[in-house]
Symmetry: C2
Amino acid sequence: MIYFDSAATSWPKPPEVWQAMEHFIKEVGASPGRAGHKRTVEANRIVDETRQQLAELFNIDDHKRIIFTLNATDSLNLAIKGLLRPGDHVITSSMEHNSVTRPLYTLQSYGVQVTKVPCDQQGNINLDDIERAFLPNTKAIIMTHASNVTGTIMPVEEVGRLAARHKVYFVMDAAQTAGLLDIDVKKLNISILTFPGHKSLLGPQGTGGIYIKEGVELMTLREGGTGSGSETPTQPDMMPEKYESGTLNAVGIAGLGAGVKYVRRVGLKKIRDHEMNLTKRFLDGAAAIPGMHIYGLSDLTKRVSVVSFRIDGYKAGEVGDRLDKKYDIACRAGLHCAPDAHRTLGTFEEKLVRFSFSYFNTAEEVDFALNALKEIAVARQPEVATLPV
Amino acid sequence: MIYFDSAATSWPKPPEVWQAMEHFIKEVGASPGRAGHKRTVEANRIVDETRQQLAELFNIDDHKRIIFTLNATDSLNLAIKGLLRPGDHVITSSMEHNSVTRPLYTLQSYGVQVTKVPCDQQGNINLDDIERAFLPNTKAIIMTHASNVTGTIMPVEEVGRLAARHKVYFVMDAAQTAGLLDIDVKKLNISILTFPGHKSLLGPQGTGGIYIKEGVELMTLREGGTGSGSETPTQPDMMPEKYESGTLNAVGIAGLGAGVKYVRRVGLKKIRDHEMNLTKRFLDGAAAIPGMHIYGLSDLTKRVSVVSFRIDGYKAGEVGDRLDKKYDIACRAGLHCAPDAHRTLGTFEEKLVRFSFSYFNTAEEVDFALNALKEIAVARQPEVATLPV
């Protein structure tokens, strides 16, 4: 099996990820923050170490300002609904995932005003368009770091500067970039960073996180048991307890910690270089396949290893299905939970097939897939009229 | 190490729980509902099977009405905030966990009216008091199935009947009972059932669930990617997608499925009998320890295996600490995230030590703990004045 679906969830995970989980479930077991016994202390240590690893990765001073959540969607709901109030205006892009657009849509019915800055057909945003979108009541810019459809990297450094100049919050969705691109919350002027644990950070599913800059106060979305500060009717004001209610996915967080350590040991540059080599190989090969149309940028410095395409004569689902059944290639065909992005590309109706390459994929796998796609494409090429001799 | 903290999270887990997780993470990996390839189909199958196991356990007709969440707190927030609107009145008890009281407290500031029916010092609720609490705008009764402090089982069958007669919703928090007591959502007239996956259901941390009866419509708290129905700006109306946004903790759900299967194979009766035998042994032994005071009921049919106590001359934390350090017994001293329950018992200031016995504990462990407690208690007994000969 060739796994080209790492933009959904990464696979395989490095062995130390499940080893850390196995250790936790067999030898530790306890619930962090829930008692004072040795097992709890050890569970606390493991969770705290993961928080610390993430803080170092993202250049966050106080690791307690990182909150663990169910997934990046959970993080984004907290960011969006915790921050925005009726009467606020927010700027976002036309390339966002449903985890941004749907919470914003919900808030619109409560009087939050949303401007979606349109991007071009390659997923690029124009900074002047963002500048023009500002209103007196603009409270935040919410934007993905890189599109999960075209792989286009957004100009987040410039967006961060724009946000700082206008004194609004910058919420960055790092679903496709955490553990892959350099994310320095200070350099990017990020107020809130949301990320999944199970994609490029190589942790298991059921892990996600959110960093909330000091001074940024969010309304809590999930109140309940916090282990400490239990006596008050409200959430305790301390971090991370304020936003972390109920039993954490400590076994998953143990795995995530091992994943982040792996990523930091290998290094972002090496991972990125490998993924972009595969992407280049794929883009070069695809250019020679008749009837195959690639979306997104050819400039490798401006994209991540998510590549979407269509093939003449096929519906996207048909190609995905053939790749799976005949060639045992796992990818994702459809709207990728990002209908706005597909509207931007003009592919909302026809949809696209998406490959996403990871550090664990090989050049041989890419070549095999290119051959498969060639066979598929050629099978539906319009017949060339044979000239009479 | 003796683990008496299963009311926080159960440990150990049966080997098949870890095996199911290991299989998922190594061999399946994919995100359920997120593509059409073989790995996704297998992930779907595993998640669906866990849902089916839970549906059979709780006598739920349509297993798709079970939603997976981060934990029971996440489930309760969805139940409470999804159901109640400004102007609604809700009845609850004075024995609830912060996962019920804190979301309700938040809603009070939005105009939801809350009546906490006071319980007696053993955690018993009077049905007449509930009856008297009804108001014309009462929308729901929200109640724990069994207290996480005293182990007292609430009269949920009668409460369910009361709810039906008054045509209000019955939300039951099964944090301490799912996988232990018989829960039949029809027999108990449950509108919404919330449960953790990592306690008596023997799954890993990071798993929880909520059953929403057909006809009960909740406001969603977490909107985002749903894999299917991606084209609409709102959540799709189908179950379980409506309430399940973002990548599920599929590896945890795989483990939970194995946990539920284990519980069903052993049988609730056998598990309950074993736990209550240990509880009886402990209660009998504790009665003979000078200065030791047990809270909760002595009638074993009306309680679960959660036992809280204090020892004269000690703060609860001191006893917990000594049990951990000197005797290697893991338990939980404090407020147990249930300050209301401690106010009800009159132990808010002094706090209590809590033991919780599981199917995996033994009579020898109970005896060892009783000896430890006796040594601790005797060390601070007031000296008996020696009569002059």
